[in-house]
């Protein structure tokens, strides 16, 4: 397909409208699967993947580059990192309360209703869900960015112009 043809392609209005209707449901349902994972099939992994899928759906309807600019690559990576931090924090909280790593029974010292269940849900939602959702969305956007895509140009780096020294990509990816 030539470049001229490519530029004439417009995003389909039908798909855009449907995605506009469907996406809130997917997001809500992904959160439901994540939050309700303790009492029904599902959990952080499945729910996080579903939430990550929302980004994919938006990208297919409204264009990948536009969605990536809107969402921001840093937000996606930050979500995944935050997941690991939250998981470790829940685990270390047990240590801080005088028990062992990831021992939720330690939270019985706090004035909570169901301490063990809350600990499990915190790990599922804040930990695994964020990690999986962030990684899926991040991998998708970077795989989709073809060789000719502008690399967001967020830090003013021109593609192929001094950015391949190694310091550039690592530096502005944090």
């Amino acid at each position: 397909m030539s470049d001229a043809e490519r530029s004439t392609y417009t995003e389909s209005e039908v798909i855009m409208s449907t995605v506009r209707v469907v996406t809130p449901f997917v997001l809500t349902f992904g959160l439901f699967v994540t939050f309700h994972g303790a009492d029904s099939p599902g959990g952080g992994f499945q729910g996080g993947a579903l939430v990550g899928t929302v980004a994919l759906m938006l990208a297919f309807a409204f264009g990948i580059d536009a969605t990536r600019r809107w969402l921001g690559r840093r937000a996606v990576t930050a979500a995944a990192s935050l997941g690991v931090i939250a998981f470790a924090a829940v685990g270390l909280g047990g240590v801080a309360l005088g028990s062992s790593f990831l021992d939720y029974t330690a939270y019985k010292a706090l004035p909570l209703k169901k301490p063990v269940k809350l600990g499990i849900e915190a790990v599922e939602i804040g930990g695994i869900g964020l990690i999986v959702g962030g990684v899926i969305a991040g991998l998708f956007f970077l795989t989709a960015a073809g060789p000719d895509a502008d690399a967001d140009a967020d830090a003013g780096t021109v593609p192929g112009d001094g950015a391949d020294t190694g310091g550039g990509p690592g530096g502005d990816a944090e």
């Binding site: 397909m1 490519r6 699967v33 099939p41």
Partner: protein
């Protein structure tokens, strides 16, 4: 009892129909034909899951059916958008 048998029979019939539709997915000839076939397969899967949920009385199967309904759409849009040309539009 009759209802359960009917639900399971319908599920079995739908699985057989899905296997038949698989012929179109294997045969092609164009990629869009395969996508149509997989889309029909996905809808069938959703319905089969709902039938099993009612027949076996496991309401949580409906969650999986909902996930499928959502992802089936994503899959069809993704593949069809992709096949406009390899790397052309995406």
């Amino acid at each position: 009892m009759i209802v359960e048998q009917a639900l399971l029979a319908a599920a079995a019939a739908l699985v057989v129909l899905a296997a038949a539709v698989l012929y179109r997915a294997v045969r092609g000839p164009t990629m869009q034909d395969r996508v149509v076939a997989v889309n029909v397969l996905g809808t069938n899967t959703v319905v089969i899951l709902a039938l099993l949920s009612a027949a076996l009385d496991v309401p949580s199967f409906l969650d999986i059916a909902l996930v499928y309904a959502l992802l089936n759409f994503l899959m069809a849009v993704a593949i069809s958008k992709f096949t406009v040309d390899r790397g052309g539009v995406m």
